[in-house]
Every structure is written in structure tokens, then in C-alpha cells.
């Protein structure tokens, strides 16, 4: 037995207009200061106002939002008592909005106590998720990633009730994304798709979504990166790819690229998508080396090969992933991120401990043994092909 969970998804041009159909009296927008200074918040506020709602804005979400930020938002929500919380932004704003929703309704819980094994019984308000990047998939999942700055680590929690009520996927919101953010977030979506397809909790439903998401990323991410300001089709397809990949991993989990990426990104302050996609090809090599990885199936779906040799197919997909990252100007080693061997060496024990205790490792198709985690970090430092 397993579940398939999804928000109601409204997608395509003018999807934001749907905000005017929402019932209720008060809406609380959770976003970041950059989006607030542009016209994003104003657009959303305009639609909500047209729906007859009073609107309050919390524009204090930072990258990798902290538990403290979430608590500040909860205090404002408790005073405002909205019918809707509206998460507007990248994964940070959407995760912060989910975290605020949970802790507003369940002030008795610590963030770390949120888990799928009990009912939160949310009833005070609902959540709309409006992504302004194409990558995290947070608009389609139950997961919340928050940071603990004191311990230089991230915590990842989830509960099915935290799947947004509505996800509005309006590609116009991503049309002006800078190329670097387009690459980071798009490769995050690819990592979701590949890991969802190979996770131990994969299923027929997540498989279909993962394959389509991977197909869209390989086809449209280069265009979105190179000409995204004018290529509305590429933006729309990448917006859909991100949500499809979110649905895929939200219903099957991710894997070791996320465990390593969370640990590494949390420690060295690397953007999430850049961190997880850095490790993706290394983890693919590590997984493929044990055989039976299913990467060949993805390669065949993408028409990168028509052969049925799984190891050969896996190699082709890994090479295609690295080629895509290079085309997008993405760093493909830890050294290329400007981190010295000495800095990595000093952090290594902590990085391994955090990666091994990351819930993303739960459904990894190959579980690291002995010193393999440490070696993966060291191979990624040098950009060396994983041979174990």
C-alpha cells in the first residue's frame, strides 16, 4: 500500500487569475524581499484584493529559511487569522509558508516533530503555493526544508496535510529569471526526476511523472537558460517539469544526491539546486556501479540510446547529465565551487554525519557502507569518476 497525493494544480498563462475565485476574507502572503520589491507581490495582492480579501504581506523569507523566520511569520499569522496563506516565491518562500501553516495550526509542535505518522488536523486556513522558479517542486509536495543556522544544517520534515491546497503554475512569473537561477533550479528538477525514478519507494504513478519531467528538462532547460527572457514555451515547459518532478518525488522520495546536497549546501551555503545537482552524476555512478539502477530506462525514454544494456544506458545518462551541466555553466566539482581541499577536509566528518542522518537517504537505491560517503565527497572534490 502507498499513497499518491497532489494539490489541485492550475497551470498555464494567466493561472494567477484564479486567485480572484478564492473564497474568504483575509489572505497572508509569504515571500522574500526581492520579489516584494519587484511587481510580483503587487500582482498577487491585486488578484486577492479583487477577490474581496484583506491582504497582509510577510516579505522576510531568506534563502534556506530559518526556523526563527518561520516563527516570526507564525506570530503575524496568529494575529491576522487569514483564510489563506499564499506562498509566493522559490522553494524557500514556499517551504516557509508551509512551515508557518503547520506551526500556526499546531503551536504545540516543534518543527522537528512534524512527521507523516500522525494527523495534523489542519482546519484554520488553506495554502496556495505560487512558484516563481522552476525547480523545487515544493508547490506539489508535503515536504518542508528549514535551516538551523546554529548547527549549520537543514532539517527536512513533512506531513501529507502540508501539501498545498492549490498550486498556481503561471509561467509568466519565471520569464525574467536570471540564467544562473534558471540553471540551478532546473537541475534541481532534473535531480528530483532522476532520484524519484530510482528511489526504493518508486511506483507506477511517480515513474510516469518522473520520466516526463526528465524529458522536459533535457529538452527545454538549455533554451530556458540561453534565451529564457524571450522563449515563453521553454519557460512554460520548465514550469511544468518542475511541478511534475515535485509530484514524482513527493510520492516516491528522493535519494543520496539530496542527502549529500542538503549536508553540503547547508554547511557551505550553496544554493539547493546547485548543491544537489553537483552530486547527482557522482551518486548515479555510485548507484550504477552496483547494477540495476534503472538509469538505462531513463536514457531509453529520452532516446539517448535504444540498447537494452542497463550499464551502458546508465553511462549514457550520466554522461548526458554532465554534458547538460557543462552547457549550463554549472560547477561539476566541489573544487570548481571555490572550496579548498582543506576546507572540505575540516568539514568532512560533519558532512558525512549530516548526510547519513538526512531523511532523503531513506529510499536511496544503494545505501552507503563504511567510508563510502566520505569517498563520495572526496571524489566530488576532485571531479573524479566514481569507481566503487
Amino acid at each position: 500500500m502507498w499513497f499518491f497525493s497532489s494539490p489541485q494544480i492550475i497551470f498555464g498563462e494567466d493561472a494567477l487569475d484564479h486567485l480572484e475565485e478564492l473564497p474568504g476574507k483575509r489572505a497572508f502572503i509569504v515571500t522574500d524581499p526581492v520579489l516584494d520589491s519587484l511587481d510580483f507581490t503587487a500582482r498577487v495582492r491585486g488578484h486577492l484584493t479583487a477577490a474581496g480579501m484583506e491582504v497582509q504581506v510577510f516579505a522576510e523569507v531568506e534563502p534556506d529559511p530559518s526556523i526563527q523566520t518561520v516563527r516570526r511569520g507564525v506570530a503575524q499569522i496568529a494575529a491576522f487569522q487569514p483564510d489563506w496563506i499564499v506562498g509566493l516565491g522559490g522553494g524557500s518562500s514556499l517551504d516557509a509558508a508551509k512551515g508557518m501553516w503547520a506551526l500556526y495550526e499546531r503551536p504545540d509542535l516543534e518543527p522537528e516533530e512534524i512527521s507523516p505518522v500522525f494527523d495534523l488536523k489542519l482546519h484554520k486556513c488553506k495554502l496556495v503555493a505560487i512558484p516563481t522558479t522552476s525547480g523545487t517542486g515544493s508547490e506539489a509536495t508535503m515536504y518542508v526544508v528549514l535551516s538551523d543556522p546554529e548547527q549549520r544544517r537543514k532539517i527536512s520534515v513533512g506531513n501529507r496535510e502540508l501539501i498545498p491546497t492549490l498550486a498556481l503554475i503561471d509561467p509568466s512569473l519565471t520569464s525574467q529569471l536570471p540564467p544562473r537561477v534558471t540553471a540551478d533550479t532546473g537541475l534541481d528538477a532534473l535531480t528530483h526526476a532522476v532520484e524519484a525514478y530510482t528511489a526504493n519507494f518508486r511506483n507506477d504513478y511517480s515513474d510516469a511523472l518522473a520520466l516526463k519531467a526528465a524529458e522536459l528538462v533535457f529538452c527545454y532547460l538549455p533554451r530556458a537558460y540561453e534565451q529564457g527572457h524571450t522563449d515563453s514555451e521553454a519557460r512554460e515547459k520548465m514550469a511544468n517539469a518542475a511541478t511534475l518532478a515535485g509530484l514524482a518525488f513527493g510520492n516516491s522520495l528522493v535519494g543520496m544526491a539530496h542527502a549529500l546536497g542538503h549536508s553540503f549546501g547547508g554547511y557551505f551555503k550553496i544554493p539547493h539546486g546547485r548543491a544537489v545537482s553537483l552530486f547527482l552524476p557522482y551518486v548515479m555512478e555510485y548507484t550504477a556501479n552496483a547494477g540495476g539502477s534503472r538509469y538505462g530506462e531513463i536514457a531509453r525514454h529520452l532516446r539517448l540510446t535504444d540498447g537494452d544494456d542497463e550499464q551502458r544506458g546508465a553511462r549514457i545518462l550520466i554522461d548526458a547529465t554532465r554534458s547538460l551541466e557543462e552547457r549550463l555553466g554549472q560547477p561539476t566539482s566541489i573544487a570548481a565551487m571555490g572550496i579548498s581541499p582543506a576546507a572540505l577536509e575540516e568539514a568532512l566528518e560533519t558532512l558525512c554525519a549530516h548526510a547519513l542522518s538526512d531523511s532523503a537517504i531513506l529510499a536511496a537505491p544503494r545505501m552507503p557502507a563504511g567510508d563510502e560517503l566520505e569517498r563520495l565527497f572526496l571524489y566530488a572534490m576532485e571531479g573524479k569518476e566514481v569507481d566503487f
Binding site: 502507498w2 512527521s115 505518522v117 519507494f201 542522518s357 538526512d358 545505501m367 552507503p368 557502507a369
Partner: protein, 129 residues
């Protein structure tokens, strides 16, 4: 002939399997926590005290007050059979509530490898269902 699950003989065999597993010892070297594994619809349960890669105590009991463990996992006999045969991932079982957990799931999820090795030990026990 295998040990019946649940029974004291099974608890003893499981303790021996855990304490002879180098893989479990390595994966659970930081684990501190004890469990009740309860068969719902009966009063039967297995108690296991797991401490830094070793099983310090394992017992069969029908007395809920035998110990006050940090974790209690309750499931139907059929679900336990699937877990012990390696057919149902216990964490997946908890997430779908086929296995009901009383205790902190996050602590378990932060020790996934230990949980997997523990199941690996259970699959090594010659069990009569």
C-alpha cells in the same frame, strides 16, 4: 525448526542475530533507544533494548507495563510477517500507518541505515509464522 513469532525463543534468536551482525553494529553505533513491537489484536509483544549497535535485552511479554520503551510500533500479525520477510519496509509501513508508531519518527529516519540493518537481522532469524 524455526522460532515462532512472537515468542521468547524468537526474541532470543533476534538478540543473537543483532549481536552477531557487524553491519548492524556499525550502522547503529550511535543509536540509543528501546522498542515494543506489538502484535495488534493480541496482547503479545517483543521488547528490544538497542544500545550503540548491540541488543542489551530482548524479551517476549504480554504485559504492557513490562517496560516503558521510547518507541512502540504496533501492527497486525500479517504486517509483521511482511516486515520480517523483508517485503514491507518498516519506515514505508509507518508512513502509510500500516505500522503505527508511538515515538519520534524523525529519530528513526535519521538512523535509516540502522533500521535497515535491524530488518536485515530479522530476516536472518529462522522464523515460524
Amino acid at each position: 525448526m524455526g522460532a515462532k513469532f512472537p515468542s521468547q525463543a524468537w526474541a532470543d534468536a533476534m538478540k543473537e542475530a543483532v549481536n552477531s551482525s557487524e553491519a548492524y553494529a556499525a550502522a547503529a553505533k550511535n543509536w540509543e533507544g528501546d522498542f515494543y513491537f506489538v502484535v495488534s489484536g493480541s496482547e503479545e509483544m517483543i521488547y528490544m533494548d538497542l544500545w550503540h549497535g548491540q541488543c542489551r535485552d530482548a524479551a517476549y511479554t504480554t504485559d504492557p507495563a513490562y517496560k516503558t520503551p521510547e518507541f512502540k510500533i504496533t501492527a497486525k500479525h500479517d504486517q509483521w510477517v511482511k516486515v520480517l520477510q523483508g517485503k514491507l519496509d518498516p519506515i514505508q509501513g509507518m508512513m502509510t500507518r500500516q505500522l503505527k508508531l508511538d515515538g519520534n519518527l524523525i529519530k528513526i529516519m535519521q538512523n535509516v541505515k540502522a533500521a535497515q540493518e535491524l530488518v536485515g537481522c530479522a530476516t536472518q532469524v529462522d522464523t515460524e509464522f
